[in-house]
Amino acid sequence: MKRGIAALLMTIAVVSSGLSVRAHHSFAAQYDRDKPITLKGGITRIEWANPHIYFYIDVAEAGGAAAHWAIEGGAPSTLYRAGWRKDSAKVGDVVTVEGFLARDGSKLVNMQRALLADGRNLFVGNQSYYQKGR
């Protein structure tokens, strides 16, 4: 039930969030709306590149090992107009990511929210161009 509510909330987020703005291809061809996930970890690399940005985080696992996850965001130009810059986050920043799992089972998430420790919602843009950066 809890998982169902979480999936519903995340689906609403997909509909309302700018990161659902995908012109490149259909969201559902790559991600599963029924598989929401939340991850927390330190950023190890940022790729501010087209057609969508990627960044990577290490998530601590039981036993002390770290799992390497790829996080996909929006198009660089969309994020730029929303006020974000390629150095708005830095390697080492700890981020909590909410998103949806890739359908192919890989450690890949489409980000809907990515909160930094200071509360900024990292790299979120939307279709109403020219948002103020946060």
């Binding site: 087209n50 198009a75 660089p76 279709q127």
Partner: protein
Amino acid sequence: MRLARIVVAMCAVLLLVAPAAAQSAAPPDLSGFWINQYTPNLADVLGKQPPFTEFGAERWRTVDTAKDPTAICLPVGPSRGFTAPFPFLLVQHDKTISIMFEYQAIWRAIYMDGRAHPDDLADYPYFMGHSIGRWEGDTLVVDTQGIDERSWLDTAGHEHSDKLKLTERFKKTGPDTIQWTVTYEDPVYFTRPWSIERTFTRGKPGDRVLPYTCNENNKDVEHLRPHQPNLNYKHVPEPPPAKKPGGR
């Protein structure tokens, strides 16, 4: 009597000059940096599915969105260029109007010099098609053919054949808005022409076309999996148009 002659002469001059003056009125300037109205699914604007032929309906029912041509960075086509969530720069000259799309950093040239489509267009299609334009009063009317059938009309997966013809009408409705009406004709996919209307809004002063080099980091493609969202679609053909009274 003399006054009457003068009045008649003046009227004659006006009759001769007025149409010429009207014809020489400069067309509106559409140049500028414009923002699209994002439209991932044309059927959402239409309020229903387009008037599919049986073939078009089956293609829609079975379309696999993992096979979106833009997912492998093929050009967007003229329909998606104006409906994607990216702006474009329009540069207007008398003989050519150029449109530079940020999405995929691709362009369209609209030839305004009165030429026809080339005879061999079908042998040499282009993803963005071949466009010829003319002014109808204050409206730019563009006829585009020769569109590569591998392009899609939208992200949802509406496809078309190499018989697709677009007729676009660009009308400035204010200093910062253009009304764009596009009519899709394709006898392979659709039983009749159908149209949608969108609005372009002027971008902020100083904004610019930003980089969109699709292939620089297209990691998505290796993660795409078959996805057929319309398998439950049931095609209901439109009833034939009612016969006009007295018609044969």
